[in-house]
Symmetry: C2
Subunit: 90 residues, 2 copies
DNA sequence: AAGTTATTTAGATATTTGTCTAAATAACTA
DNA sequence: TAGTTATTTAGACAAATATCTAAATAACTT
């Protein structure tokens, strides 16, 4: 849970997640969307992987990152515990 | 959104939220639940207030903190954007 | 008015974090 | 084999963070 909140506490990492929402991408493709160096993006991807928000798969020289949102269910239920009744869901 | 993720990225602050889930409490009552100094707890409460996760109300010498989870809806919908279909809701 | 209680503010400090450049791996290409 | 490309690892460093003690506010009590 700690790793999850930590991973989400950065706008670049959240943007990476939104990017991967469309489709899996290689590390290089992801890096091209940002103005940070490749090592910086690599580090962000590492933190996302530690939080199990993404999985990585090496194919040849390329490492493809894929969104893994199963862990988000945990976060969702943690949050829903604060909603008093089920008067939500717009 | 940044302040929200930042506020949630700390186990003590998350514990404070869970404590306030039961009922509003004064700063002192909250501090008694933890082994950190009162200034430290006061600082955590400040960050929670900046994220609008709690509201504070001064009554005499006491400052009562109350959970404010309206802002969580924003987070919930951000998260739900990653859930492919609406196969959730336990 | 003086003392006590509740809380916050102000610095100080050690740790964590995000970023960079340089170097190391690993895989492909000619 | 030598060179190029994709990615990560290793340090270094400035900025942010969590914590503390001491001091400042503010409200209550005698």
């Amino acid at each position: 849970m700690n790793a999850l909140f930590k991973a989400l506490n950065d706008p670049t990492r959240r943007a990476i997640l939104e990017l991967l929402r469309e489709q899996p991408r290689t590390a290089g493709e992801i890096a091209d969307y940002f103005q940070f160096s490749r090592p910086t993006i690599s580090h962000h991807l590492d933190l996302l992987r530690q939080a199990e928000l993404v999985t990585s798969d090496k194919q040849g020289q390329f490492v493809t990152y894929t969104l893994n949102m199963t862990v988000v269910d945990e976060l969702l239920s943690w949050l829903l515990q604060f909603k008093p009744t089920n008067e939500s869901k717009p």
